[in-house]
Symmetry: C2
Subunit: 122 residues, 2 copies
């Protein structure tokens, strides 16, 4: 069945009705994950997540076989892609190939938020 | 190779460096499609498109086997899901199951824009 989750957040603190806020990982205080579209909605092919990095935080520096499709929604970050660093901000699109090393390091006073698409785990 | 397309649009007219604007269909004047992440970037599993509906326009009323994951980014629309109608606006998430009848009809004075994820055509 098709599902709508109404957005009930603010421009720099995204949230959706019925969608819980998860910790990104115990060692990453100030980083959270929400999943507005995924397995709970019945999505067979992809999962759409929202990540929020408070000022002074960063995501994990990692690589893995699955690719990411990222659209920034608020704030700024330094984005590492292998040996290169890029300044990214609202609505920049970032395609991260499988196995490329990547990390987001929040910049400035505003929290950094982005939509991140991955293939469904099947 | 990972790819970044810098956003170079405005809050109600999204565009990205290097991403062309396509007509949605000849019979849909005032509706456009851009693909910031897809086959051109090497995405094997999903495609991330952006659709823009000028005031007074709508998307096609259609159904098909593939599912959609939608995040609204600007403006308002009436969203039809089978026999039901919903008012949707910025950052509402809409999961449209495969084979559900669906349509967006723009509402108000602002153009309606949304990110729409589909599985890659392979």
């Amino acid at each position: 069945m098709s599902t709508i989750h109404k957005f009930n957040g603010t421009p720099s603190q995204f949230s959706w009705e019925g969608i819980p806020v998860h910790a990104y990982g115990e060692e990453f205080v100030g980083v959270t994950r929400q999943v507005p579209i995924g397995e709970a909605e019945g999505s067979d092919n992809f999962t759409i997540r929202y990540f929020r990095l408070e000022p002074g935080t960063h995501s994990n520096l990692e690589h893995h076989p699955h690719e990411h499709g990222v659209i920034v929604v608020h704030g700024r970050a330094r984005c590492q892609l292998n040996e290169q660093f890029h300044d990214v901000g609202p609505f920049d699109s970032i395609y991260i190939t499988g196995n490329d090393l990547h990390q987001f390091v929040q910049q400035g006073d505003e929290p950094f938020g982005f939509i991140c698409v991955i293939k469904a785990k099947k």
